[in-house]
């Protein structure tokens, strides 16, 4: 049996993952919501576009299907931020870092620009794929 904690003070991924499974069961039971995150990015960008050009957003098929609004999942994603912040601060594992260790090992410690381009492009591509796959 694997240890129930990691050497840096974290929990075993089996334990944390299993408990998150219980969270998902309770969510489906109590609120009737399955866990997800990517629709929130659609709603958020829809809200931003709606601020600039509401007439245009009102005509766009995708925003008619996925209404720009703050809903259960939007608050879920905000909650992820808060929950991770609480866990990181209370265990002193919060670390202000713009270049991940593994990235620095490969691209060096002065690669902020490259990291920004990779992360931005990666994010845009990943979200396009996630929406296409309906994930």
């Amino acid at each position: 049996m694997a240890d129930l904690s990691t050497n840096d003070g974290g929990w075993s991924p089996y334990l944390a993952g299993g408990l998150s499974g219980i969270v998902s069961i309770l969510s489906v039971w109590i609120a009737g919501h399955f866990l997800g995150a990517s629709t929130t990015f659609v709603r958020t960008v829809g809200l931003l576009e709606d601020f600039i050009s509401p007439e245009r957003v009102a005509q766009m098929e995708y925003f008619i299907k996925t209404t720009p609004k703050i809903d259960w999942q939007w608050m879920f994603v905000v909650g992820i931020f808060i929950g991770a912040l609480i866990a990181a601060l209370s265990s002193k594992s919060f670390k202000w870092q713009g270049l991940p260790d593994l990235w620095q090992k490969r691209f060096g410690s002065k690669s902020q620009g490259k990291r920004a381009v990779f992360a931005f492009t990666g994010g845009a591509i990943a979200m396009y794929g996630a929406r296409l796959a309906d994930g």
Partner: protein, 175 residues
Amino acid sequence: MKMLIYGLITGIAFGFLLQKGRVLRYDKQLGALLFKDMTIIKFMLSSVLVGMVGIYLLVDLELAKLSIKTTLLGGNIIGGLIFGIGWGLLGYCPGTSAGALAEGRWDALWGIIGMLVGAAVYAEAFPLMKQTVLTWGDFGKITLPGILGINHWVVIAIVVIAGLLLFSFFEKKNL
């Protein structure tokens, strides 16, 4: 309003566990893609196995309904491949990017901005996608027990056993 509070509380619990499981980090996400550190697979699969048993119990007790998505090979396969390329470049996924930022990994912010742009681009491309990719290989709302014609608990038992075997393989190989 009540739903918004449920969402927030569920997110806080989930974000707390993501951070405790150490799965928010770039190094862990890339570690799995490089087959060197399977932490995130252990977390995800543990969550899936527990969730699968519990949710099917709720369904059998008529306390919940499944929310089955359409199996659409065009969208699922092409979208999945595109997602994988982006994920490998970014090193965070949509849900974990918010948690990674909360942990102080501020490069996730570039990813979040990128994801908003990706969502905006997809919204523009949707009418074209709907006429093309999203018409390829539409199997409707199918499930494994449904197409196999067997009781869902048989499938659940097989998946749980396969998952546990995979876990023991990971531990043996020290992944």
